[in-house]
């Protein structure tokens, strides 16, 4: 049976934040270490996406910026736990979050892709340019927070 030989796994993604001063070679070292962990646990890393140094919405580890790395992988149960345990041990990692993307993915059908490096997201535009419901928002902002907190 074709179904019997199929190995069904889950697809996950993890985004982790590194301290902004982390040198490039250390970033690569962490990548390889995590790739090793995923492989050891019977999973497969599909790709790492280096999203570069981005401004964070609030200071993370007393820094206004952080290196974002996105990791997409497939694997079975226990893999995420092991990966997160490893992330916790790396000092340069300040934050991480894993999300399950899909269930029942065919392990062999999912091809490994090359690592990607994308340009950091550009700085935010001023509010006026993208606001699509200005009067509404003002009204909402106006009554809501002050009234509640008073």
């Amino acid at each position: 049976m074709a179904e019997a030989t199929k190995r069904l796994v889950r697809e996950y993604e993890t985004i982790y934040l590194l301290k902004p001063e982390t040198p490039d070679d250390q970033v690569d070292e962490i990548k390889e270490r995590l790739r090793g962990v995923v492989t050891r646990e019977g999973g497969k890393v599909i790709r790492f996406t280096d999203q570069g140094k981005r401004k964070t919405a609030f200071p993370v580890a007393k820094n206004a910026k952080a290196l974002y790395v996105h990791c997409l992988y497939v694997g079975g149960s226990g893999l995420v736990q092991e990966l997160e345990r490893n992330l916790k041990m790396i000092d340069a990692v300040t934050k991480f979050q894993s999300v399950r993307l899909a269930d029942g993915v065919d392990f062999d059908a999912r091809q490994v892709e090359a690592d990607v490096k994308i340009a950091p997201v550009e700085e935010e535009k001023p509010r006026e340019e993208r606001s699509e419901f200005p009067p509404t928002e003002e009204a909402f902002e106006g009554d809501a927070p002050e009234a509640e907190e008073a």
Partner: protein, 122 residues
């Protein structure tokens, strides 16, 4: 986009709430409009709207290709107020399903410092 219309509707909101009687049925009609919307999306529901602007259509339903992505800062910012709060469904016009997805995405993005928990807090 019926921006001014939407604004007017909201402007009339609080007044309607305190005005009692004749505006009391406003929310009810809004509900009915919602239900009708689910049937044929994009259809104009002018009947129960008392002449105020156009019923907003969920942007994710209107554009099937659009997916809620917690990594997309620009997309999610649209659903945040200046102070970083999630904009309610009645204003953003999202359908229930997509509003849930947006809310989850915003919360995930916050954990990764992509979006703020709060802006300008004391």
């Amino acid at each position: 986009m019926a921006r001014p219309g939407e604004g007017m509707r909201m402007g009339g909101g609080p007044g309607g709430r305190f005005g009692g009687g004749d505006r009391g049925d406003r929310g009810d009609r809004g509900d009915r409009g919602d239900r009708g919307d689910r049937g044929d999306r994009g259809g104009e529901e002018m009947g129960g709207r008392r002449g105020f602007g156009r019923r907003k259509v969920c942007r994710f339903c209107a554009d099937k290709a659009a997916k809620v992505d917690y990594k997309d800062q620009q997309q999610l910012k649209y659903f945040l107020t200046e102070r970083g709060k999630i904009i309610p469904r009645r204003i953003s016009g999202n359908c229930a399903k997509h509003q849930r997805q947006v809310a989850t995405a915003v919360k995930r993005a916050r954990m990764l410092a992509i979006l703020p928990y709060t802006v300008g807090a004391m």
